[in-house]
């Protein structure tokens, strides 16, 4: 029933537009102002543009930068901002035409800026009419002098999936360049958002005195776990039930520092710790030594990777630690573990130790380097391979190299199982384990196989991906558009094929990088606030 008035409006708009003219100074949107409000001049102009646009081929100089051609949107997502770049100085105004394969008439909009966001109602119509066939979005540039002359033109197509995301996104906003210290930690915000919302995701945690970073929720979304330097303990990690108001105190924390360590090693942080899907266990790098440098590069302001370490697991109920046999070889660094959703396997990154990078192994410090990430990568290369090991109730087993994700002259890391257990998506770059400019996402069958570069990759830094609980969607971070990392979303079908991604622009901020995002099997409003009660 709701669709009737919308369709009516579009129909009217189409009729009116065919008789419009454009004043040249005003934007006009077929969905915002009704056809009756359209000046005669505009009506005529639009009519002329439509006629001319049909004749004009795609003129170079105009690029629709977002959405990407072929982008698949989730059905519940809020309207995106369509953005283009018109290099030609002649274009002063733009006509946007959204066409459908269905019989629905096109939608038009006239704007004098190089972006346009469809009205919520119209966006819903676009989505509804791009499920079975792509919607074509055309942007035509024109000038004032020669009314109706198309100066630039380009088109893309978008699709809307039937598959909903059905999960919230939890992520961190951090100022760049990344700096440590209480003053900087206080500026960090943690948000929990819903892709359908037109507002910015709500801040659920802020004003922390300490650093917090890696986190993971249990599969059913009932438990949240997060690395947080509670009471200055860099090994501290909380595990607590998800609730509207979460008040953290000592009882919620465990610390990887309780894992016995050889005296020489620095304190264990519990690097890249991951709670198991059921929340019964955690697995983490322990006995780790990491190389950490702050660079002079704004976008890639740190180089961090472990050079040494093994995996250990922690039984949450029994509060017991144990090394994970098979991932406990001190000739290697074993890190960045990931659980299969059935908890049968752990995939992790492994490399030969690189302790020679530390001037003094007994005094590990964060380096301040007057060098950019590329220079540092050259000086401190490291390449990880992915290995799989059965968890076997903590008994571990023999590590098997994950075919297609190692020994390829690249660094392979950040493996994530798809919830159906069929796939593993991992990150690959020439070197390193995080925040690498050339990092790209690859997908392989979960038991290993031929890797396929994912379409969703953007031109700069693609990593930190997370599957939606239903496995149909995967989010990831990228710096393709801005040094302030953004979150993207790609659809993955049953064959593991992904789509050009959706940019979650409402999760972005021009002063903060949106990082460590995670899909959470809850609704966005489930958590309102997380505080430390005895900070």
């Amino acid at each position: 029933m709701k669709k009737i008035p919308q369709l009516l409006i579009i129909l009217l708009a189409s009729i009116v537009l065919s008789h419009c003219a454009f004043s040249g100074n005003n934007s006009w949107d077929s969905q915002v102002s009704g056809p009756l409000g359209m000046p005669e001049e505009t009506r005529h102009l639009v009519q002329k543009l439509i006629t001319n646009s049909k004749k004009a081929g795609n003129k170079t100089g105009l690029t629709i930068t977002y959405p990407f051609d072929g982008t698949v949107f989730p059905p519940e997502i809020a309207a995106p901002v369509i953005v283009w770049q018109d290099a030609g100085s002649a274009s002063k105004h733009w006509l946007i035409i959204v066409e459908f394969r269905s019989r629905l008439s096109p939608i038009y909009a006239l704007v004098d800026k190089q972006h346009w966001m469809p009205d919520k109602t119209i966006w819903e119509i676009i989505k509804a009419n791009s499920v079975h066939g792509a919607a074509k979005i055309t942007v035509c540039g024109f000038d004032n002098k020669h009314a109706g002359n198309i100066t630039a033109k380009n088109s893309i197509s978008i699709l809307t999936s039937k598959d909903r995301v059905d999960a919230a996104i939890f992520y961190r906003q951090v100022q760049l360049p990344f700096k440590v210290g209480k003053k900087n930690f206080k500026k960090i915000k943690w948000r929990l958002g819903d892709i359908s919302a037109y507002e910015k995701p709500a801040v659920v945690m802020e004003n922390l005195d300490v650093c917090a970073s890696c986190h993971l929720f249990s599969k059913d979304g009932t438990l949240i776990s997060m690395e947080m330097n509670y009471k200055d303990d860099s090994g501290a990690h909380f595990i607590t039930p998800v609730a509207e108001n979460i008040e953290l105190s000592g009882k919620d924390f465990m610390t990887w520092n309780d894992f016995p360590k050889p005296e020489l090693l620095p304190k264990t942080r519990g690097l890249f710790a991951k709670i198991s899907p059921t929340g019964k266990y955690m697995v983490s790098t322990v006995h780790e030594i990491s190389y950490a440098a702050l660079t002079n590069d704004f976008a890639f302001c740190q180089l961090f990777f472990p050079t040494y370490g093994v995996l250990a697991w922690y039984a949450v109920d029994q509060k017991k630690f144990q090394l994970l046999p098979g991932a406990d070889d001190y000739d290697f660094v074993q890190t960045d573990p990931s659980w299969s959703w059935d908890e049968k396997y752990i995939v992790f990154a492994r490399a030969h130790t690189k302790n020679e990078y530390h001037k003094d192994i007994t005094n590990i410090r964060t380096h301040i380097e007057n060098a950019d990430i590329h220079e540092l990568n050259q000086r401190f290369p490291i390449q990880y391979d992915l290995y799989r090991i059965p968890f076997n109730q903590g008994q571990g087993g023999t590590p098997e190299p994950l075919q297609g994700a190692g020994r390829n002259g690249m660094s392979n890391y950040f493996p994530r199982y798809s919830p159906d257990g069929k796939w593993i998506v991992f990150t690959r770059s020439k070197t390193g384990i995080m925040l690498q400019p050339d990092s790209e996402l690859f997908i392989i069958p979960a038991a290993g196989g031929v890797p396929r570069r994912m379409q969703c990759n953007r031109k700069l830094f693609n990593s930190w991906h997370s599957f939606a609980p239903n496995g149909k969607w995967m989010l990831f971070s990228s710096k393709a558009n801005t040094p302030f990392t953004e979150i993207f979303l790609t659809h993955i079908d049953e064959n593991g094929l992904d789509s050009p991604p959706v940019c979650l622009s409402r999760f972005s901020d021009d002063r903060y990088a949106a990082n460590v995002p995670e899909f959470v099997n809850i609704e966005a409003g489930t958590i309102k606030r997380i505080v430390i009660s005895d900070q």
């Binding site: 020489l264 304190k267 990491s290 040494y308 192994i361 410090r365």
Partner: protein, 810 residues
């Protein structure tokens, strides 16, 4: 400015005043509690039954737990605990090794430079035993020894994997050298620094024994007299040395100046009985009154003196234990060497320093070949003297040599120069040594003078040889001494371990970078430069000129070696030994191959003449050489010593693999590691030493050794038994785990992998079994070499790692 200076001076004066007041106050407190300082006579006739005896009860504990550091010149605070006299002398804040000393220091040699406690006090030694009222309470509360032991007991070494960072075990660490009066300040500041320092403490029983002895007044009984048998032997030898003929006097002087550092052992006397040959004011039959000159060729200052044997009363420690054996055959040998030839000594040489420091001049009347053969007979002793003799340590002195090199000698029967008494006498002016100029800081001028003299000598030698050999026939393999077919001193290997070194018989280890071939004038000069003429108490100038002149002698030895190699290869080979040497060094050499213009008489068939030459030497030396070093030169099962037992073969085979790793991978490996292989039968346990040989681009400079390191060329040498006096690490492995041990060893590449290795295989400073293992090694060494063994020094025993207190934060 003036005001500022005034206030600065005022503040300093106030601070100094406060410090002096506090010190005076502390002394006053002790005066009031324990009475004034006084002389104490600790001698008693006998130890009463039930009382603690120093010799029977205390000394063995000191030997095992204290002397491993508190011995020789590098004893911390000069506190030598190797004998009662050292304990009674006490400690001093003055350094023996002081490379910045502008003036010669007064020597402080125990038994030599002072005869009484009062004399030592005047020389600023402070007591470590109670020298106030002799009450049981004061004997403990005013006794640094007790206080140090008690501090350790109260604050034992933490049983942690790593030695706490609060311990400084570097060689150059600041000496505290606290007195009893200052002890409370020391203990507050360094609660963990009780003794033994940075090592596990004494057992309760050991502790109590020492405390009881101190409480009862630290009494001492007279030492037992030497045995009649010993006396008879000594009488015979003193009679020999004190013969009245000029020839005898000159021969005795010659021998004395080479044996003055020796720990002389007489056959038929107990294995651990040693004597020193000294100059005494008193004749045989009377108590020895040793003449305390700095050097053995210094003027004795008395009209008549006597060569006497003085029993060594201190614990024997490996770092200065250089044994020389005297027996009937040696006496015969002396007579054969010095009396067979017909020559005359008409006049005795003077003790004037310039002449006395030049042995080629002083002993010119003695036949050169006799002198050379005297040195060659005990070549290992002579060469070891260069290293152990006058000093216990000395990195600057030792960085003049490579970490590992082979030494061979010219055959005295064939080498024209070593044989020619007249020629050597003629050129003896060119062979002057810098010690002849006494303490000086005019180093560059001195060095220039002596290097010019050496050039003149080499030129004269060249001209003389050209006369002798008109055909210009070069050196061939027959010019290498083969030990006369029986003497195992023919070939030697020198290992340098940073600031100490070892000399072993035979060619041990893989083919080294360099080799020396030594002739008589070179061997003699090295002894007079580094042993007879070296004075550890002299100033920095003396030490530097010694080091610089040794450069020239090393080059002479190396060039002798090169003279056996093809002429067209010498420059290239030598260039490999002196990479990156600075221009000025090259300039002064100008003709670095001076004196070796002729081609070799050896025909080579490979492209590696250096290796081939070493192989030819080994073949030539025959049975006298340690030719079969399969551990390092043939690491294959087929090369194993089939005569050794199955366990030894198994250990050999496994451990050999260690020698194959080299370069950057072994940077963390300690210089000297003793490996104890446990076999299950303690009598059959095995011992090996792993030596790390650190390569240098060149040896041209005193300082900046780290900058000259070529880590890619570093190697490891594996030796059965013990090499080195200062072990840096102990490993202990059961024969059943020997392969795992080696696998783990091969994984060592950095501090962390070494730490991981050490967790399983090393005995650490903090290990509860540290002393047990130390005792085992000392006993084993003694069992293996009853006469040559001495206590190992633990002062350089490495910590596994020094953990920073800083925490990694992100």
């Amino acid at each position: 400015m003036k005001k500022t200076r005034f206030y600065l001076i005022l503040v300093l004066l106030i601070l100094a005043g406060c410090s002096a007041y506090r010190a005076a106050h502390r002394v006053a407190v002790f005066d009031s509690k324990y009475g004034p300082v006084q002389s104490v006579d600790r001698r008693v006739d006998f130890t009463a039954p039930g009382k603690v005896s120093f010799y029977d009860d205390v000394q063995p504990i000191l030997e095992r737990r204290c002397d491993v550091c508190h011995s020789c010149y590098d004893a911390p605070c000069q506190l030598k605990l190797t004998c009662f006299e050292g304990l009674e002398r006490g400690g001093s804040k003055k350094l023996v090794y002081d490379s910045a000393r502008l003036k010669r220091a007064e020597p402080t040699r125990l038994f030599i430079d002072a005869d009484s406690v009062d004399e030592w006090r005047r020389m600023e030694f402070h007591p470590v035993l109670n020298e106030r009222e002799q009450t049981a309470q004061a004997n403990l509360e005013n006794c640094v020894l007790n206080m140090m032991l008690q501090l350790k007991k109260t604050h034992p070494l933490p049983e942690t994997e790593l030695l706490p960072g609060t311990f400084d075990i570097s060689l150059g660490r600041k000496r505290e050298c606290t007195t009893a009066e200052d002890f409370s300040e020391y203990s507050n500041k360094y609660p963990l620094w009780g003794m033994p320092y940075a090592l596990p403490g004494l057992t309760d029983k050991e502790h109590q024994t020492i405390v009881d002895w101190l409480k009862q007044g630290a009494a001492i009984t007279a030492r037992p007299q030497i045995s009649d048998q010993a006396q008879q032997i000594i009488n015979r030898w003193e009679e020999f040395f004190n013969g009245s003929s000029l020839k005898q006097q000159l021969v005795s002087r010659y021998i004395y100046e080479h044996l003055f550092i020796a720990h002389i052992h007489f056959d038929n006397l107990p294995a651990r009985e040693f004597y020193r040959l000294v100059r005494s004011e008193t004749p045989p039959g009377e108590p020895v009154v040793e003449i305390n000159t700095d050097r053995p060729y210094d003027d004795p200052g008395v009209a008549k003196f006597y060569y006497r044997f003085r029993k060594i009363e201190t614990t024997i420690v490996a770092k200065n234990h250089t044994v020389y054996r005297l027996n009937r055959s040696k006496l015969d040998r002396y007579r054969q060497l010095f009396w067979q030839d017909d020559y005359k000594v008409d006049k005795l040489p003077s003790y004037e320093p310039k002449a006395a420091s030049n042995p080629l001049k002083t002993f010119a009347d003695l036949p050169a070949q006799a002198r050379y053969r005297f040195l060659l007979d005990d070549a290992q002793f002579i060469v070891m003297g260069f290293i152990k003799g006058p000093v216990c340590r000395g990195q600057i002195a030792l960085n003049v040599i490579n970490d590992h090199f082979f030494v061979a000698f010219f055959d005295p029967a064939k080498d024209a120069i070593s044989n020619d008494t007249d020629f050597l006498a003629r050129v003896s002016d060119f062979l002057d040594l810098p010690a002849g100029r006494e303490s000086t800081m005019n180093i560059m001028s001195l060095w220039y003078d002596y290097s010019s003299k050496q050039k003149k000598y080499l030129d004269a030698k060249g001209r003389y040889l050209a006369k002798l050999k008109p055909d210009k026939s070069g050196n061939d393999i027959n010019y290498i001494w083969n030990g006369d077919g029986h003497n195992d001193n023919a070939l030697l290997t020198v290992f340098r371990h940073f600031d100490s070194a070892s000399v072993v018989k035979g060619f041990v280890g893989d083919i080294p970078k360099t080799g020396w071939v030594i002739d008589f004038p070179l061997l003699e000069r090295i002894h007079y430069l580094l042993v007879a003429g070296f004075n550890v108490y002299d100033n920095a100038g003396h030490q530097l000129t010694t080091r610089l002149y040794m450069d020239l002698l090393r080059i002479e030895g190396e060039n002798n070696f090169l003279s056996f190699l093809p002429k067209d290869k010498r420059e290239e080979i030598r260039a490999g030994w002196y990479k990156y040497a600075r221009a000025e060094f090259k300039n002064y050499l100008q003709n670095p191959l001076r004196g070796i213009e002729w081609d070799t008489g050896i025909v080579y068939s490979t492209d590696d003449p250096k290796k081939e030459f070493f192989e030819k030497i080994l073949e030539h030396a025959g049975p006298a050489a340690n030719a079969d070093d399969y551990l390092n030169r043939c690491p294959q099962e087929s090369c194993m010593d089939k005569k050794s037992g199955p366990l030894e073969q198994r250990a050999d085979l496994a451990l050999q693999k260690i020698t194959m790793i080299r370069g950057p991978q072994i940077q963390i490996v300690p210089d000297v590691t003793f490996i104890h292989v446990v076999t299950g039968n303690k009598d059959n346990d095995l011992t090996y030493t792993v030596i790390r040989n650190k390569a240098l681009s060149n040896n041209s400079f005193l300082f900046g050794e780290e900058r000259r390191r070529v880590v890619d060329d570093d190697t490891l040498t594996l030796v059965k038994g013990y090499v080195g006096s200062y072990p840096n690490a102990f490993c202990r492995v059961h024969i059943e785990q020997i392969d795992d041990f080696v696998d783990d060893y091969l994984k060592i590449k950095d501090q962390l992998s070494y730490y991981n290795f050490a967790k399983t295989h090393a005995v650490r400073r903090t290990s509860p079994n540290f002393w047990e293992e130390t005792d085992w090694h000392n006993k084993e060494y003694l069992k293996d070499q009853p006469i040559e063994a001495g206590l190992f020094d633990m002062y350089r025993f490495n910590r596994i790692a020094l953990k920073s207190d800083a925490q990694f934060k992100w």
